[in-house]
Symmetry: C2
Subunit: 238 residues, 2 copies
């Protein structure tokens, strides 16, 4: 079974929701047969790479919240994160463009290190004092190496803005096609969807339902087909 999770590193509910999903998955009897794929969604795609703001300032400027409202939101997030055993800095975080992180996550997928990298990026953005936005590429290199990636390869990806860009865009187009207008957005075997940081029980229910309805491919025309396999190519007798 395959679970695709559309997410943004700058999305606090994605951080919390992923922890809730992971709890449900860890207790799911068929967890070893579940493949998790992270897919890209940018909350703020129009923001330029160097344009970094304190989160509270972004919330007041972009969404017209009062500073008290913005801080109450962060406090609530802090409590919800703590309830999942996650660290969350409710003051002093900043906000910026996440496109390069999404490109790196696609590179990490190729290397079998995607889940490691996303956990490290979440923790770095939500729990650590150092910014993931203001220290340049070398900060991302450091975090990627921690996830088991090769530093030189990561530098090459970061230095070429086209690398994995099309993969990020394709994920974003697919999110729109699937009707996701917010994240986190979980899709199980392209059949069930879970929108938002729902409680772990909802993920448990979704995993069970999707698992119960797994079905083998329906083959169209089972007749003798001309095909090649490990034992050679079928040579029909005409």
């Amino acid at each position: 079974m395959r679970v695709e999770i559309w997410t943004d590193i700058a999305c606090p509910w994605c951080y919390v929701g992923k922890a809730r999903f992971d709890q449900a998955l860890a207790a799911f009897p068929h967890r070893d047969e579940v493949e998790v794929v992270h897919r890209s969604f940018e909350l703020d795609p129009g923001r330029a790479k160097g344009d970094v703001q304190p989160v509270i300032t972004m919330l007041t400027k972009k969404y017209g919240m009062s500073e008290a409202q913005a801080q109450a939101g962060e406090d609530n997030l802090g409590s919800q994160a703590a309830a999942e055993g996650l660290d969350y800095r409710t003051r002093g975080r900043d906000h910026g463009n996440t496109f390069d992180m999404h490109r790196l996550l696609h590179f990490a997928k190729e290397q079998g290190r995607q889940d490691e990298l996303i956990q490290i990026l979440y923790r770095a953005n939500f729990a650590e004092e150092r910014s993931v936005f203001t220290e340049g590429d070398e900060r991302l290199v450091e975090l990627a190496v921690e996830a088991g990636l090769d530093a030189e390869a990561v530098r090459t990806v970061l230095a070429d803005p086209a690398a994995y860009a099309e993969e990020v865009r394709a994920d974003e187009r697919e999110a729109a096609q699937l009707g996701a207008n917010g994240v986190p957005f979980f899709v199980l075997d392209r059949t069930y969807g879970v929108s938002g940081a729902q409680p772990a029980e909802v993920f448990t229910q979704a995993l069970s339902q999707a698992w119960g309805e797994r079905s083998p491919l329906k083959l169209v025309d089972q007749g003798d087909a001309e095909a090649c396999g490990p034992d050679g190519c079928a040579v029909p007798q005409h």
Copy 2:
């Protein structure tokens, strides 16, 4: 709708089957909403990179055919290919390891050039006198450039045997999970399967059936979810 096609460049029925599928797709009313993804399957994964043989020799040695049988098979393939308007050299082709071509196809996917590259690789392997196996990386660079890829980027991918290797292996594991033991193998929205180079009408039928059964995601718990979107993050009122 998404159609995944497991295929090998060394597989003549994949070449013929792809042309039949493309005919069906070209006439399909919803063709603009169909995404085609090529997936990797190696017929001969144990063959070392430099181990190249004439196809007829490979067929007699590996599958114990007589030379006459092997040539009759090639003649039959030539006729079937011609019926689809494809050139096919029935004598003098050679056979080798296709792992690097699969790696390149994954790179091409990222660049939005996968279908272009696969068509060019098929034509090069089945219709052209020059080999895709014996001239080294520069032959593949030349073909990839023809597909619209950047020569330097292609050289970088080819020079690093780990690049996209995990993607190729993941495709191969998935083929096994889906029950594909030969190629071409077509999977429509992970619901319908078509095995082998079936006639175009079978692909038309499969496309129509899969299209008719498309269904929106079933959302588990539609209740108010904590999520972030372009308009900010939901702050539940507790």
